[in-house]
């Protein structure tokens, strides 16, 4: 093999490796950025002694706030930390329970008109703060 051919091969491999290294580094960076944790903006009420400590955020997946329904009962579904004490209160009823899993789903009665429903969660770990969500559901019987 000629000397210039060997040099060209070495240069080519070097250049290729440099480009590959650059692209791999860039890909890793963009992977990291897309996987970066997003902080949850949740109404957390600090009552415990460790205000910066936050567990599983309370999420109410159903019903949506300001939902309009035509039945006198709804299913309230959501997510919270395991074994947390969940308190649901509205002008219609009070409900208190704990859930072994991190998800809950309960039937809840409605009164005709506006129903202000507050879901409060007291985590099992007492150092974690109480969390609350409030939603309005309108039960309208338009017959």
């Amino acid at each position: 093999m000629k000397k210039e051919t060997i040099i060209a091969v070495i240069l080519g491999i070097g250049f290729g490796l440099a480009v590959a290294f650059f692209m791999i580094t860039k890909t890793k960076q963009s992977d990291l950025q897309s996987k970066k944790a997003i902080s949850v903006d949740n109404k957390v009420s600090p009552t415990g002694s460790a205000p910066n400590k936050v567990g599983q955020a309370l999420v109410v997946t159903s019903p949506k706030d300001n939902a309009v329904v035509s039945t006198d009962k709804i299913k309230i579904q959501g997510k919270t930390s395991r074994d947390a004490l969940v308190v649901i209160q509205s002008p219609a009823d009070d409900l208190v329970f704990t859930e072994k899993t991190d998800q809950f789903s309960v039937d809840f009665p409605l009164t005709l008109g506006e129903n202000v429903i507050r879901v409060s969660v007291y985590p099992k770990d007492k150092t974690l703060p109480e969390q609350q969500k409030e939603l309005r559901v309108y039960y309208l019987d338009e017959q």
Partner: protein, 238 residues
């Protein structure tokens, strides 16, 4: 020289090709052939389109099923104005020929009213066709607004039957316990709700209470409780 260029280009594509394979593997976390990858892209695009369409339909339905809620601030012959909870003002028109139904909600039951029964200050839920800030009302419900709050008891008056409560947001409430106020306590072992009297409430207990906001209240944040749910402080130290 030409030979050098050919070799250079060949080596570049060889290394570049290796990298492309690696990038594809990274993206999908599994080895997917190029044709399959294209199919996946088309499927994803179709799925996105279907999801957007479903979301749009749901949004339209939601808009159709929307209500305006707030206090009546002004009443004229064939229309009235509502200051909605969000702060927006809506003009609500009645359907000609008294076709707009008006009900008052009392104890969960509805009682039919006339247009002339509506008054300034009524809390109403208006259902109808909403266009920007105008509503053509199909049904108007006159309701009583209720609020829900919670906090820990900081003071109890056994003579005037009120309790002072500090909420997690550090707001202070004076809660009057009336003869009609129902008080329940959580059994810390079974979590069942048990009816209790005023004397069972203690400083440090957590209460959740329902009240009716009143504009004529003598003191700010002084409310009469309709219902109280008490969680004994022992639950949190067990």
């Amino acid at each position: 020289m030409r030979k050098t260029l050919v070799v250079l280009v060949a080596v570049f594509f060889l290394v570049g090709g290796q990298f492309q394979t690696r990038a594809q593997t990274n993206a999908s976390d599994s080895a997917v052939p190029a044709s399959q990858s294209a199919d996946t892209d088309i499927n994803k695009a179709t799925q996105n389109f279907i999801e957007k369409l479903a979301s749009s339909v749901a949004q339209t339905r939601k808009n159709d099923n929307h209500v305006v809620v707030g206090d009546i601030t002004d009443i004229k012959d064939q229309e009235f104005t509502v200051l909605a909870n969000a702060g927006d003002t809506y003009t609500v028109a009645f359907i000609e020929g008294n076709l707009t139904k008006i009900y008052q909600i009392v104890n969960g039951q509805k009682k039919e009213l006339k247009q002339s029964d509506l008054k300034k200050g009524n809390f109403v839920i208006v259902s109808g066709v909403i266009s920007d800030k105008s509503v053509t009302a199909n049904v108007v419900y006159v309701d009583q607004p209720y609020m829900v709050e919670s906090g820990s008891i900081t003071e109890i008056s056994n003579t005037d039957y009120y309790i002072k409560v500090t909420t997690p947001e550090k707001d202070n409430f004076t809660v009057d316990v009336e003869t009609y106020t129902k008080i329940n306590a959580v059994n810390i072992k079974t979590l069942a709700l048990e009816r209790i009297g005023f004397s069972k409430l203690k400083e440090g207990d957590i209460i959740h209470f329902v009240y009716q906001p009143s504009l004529s209240a003598k003191e700010k944040n002084r409310v009469s409780a309709r219902r109280i749910l008490m969680i004994p402080q022992e639950y949190f130290i067990k």
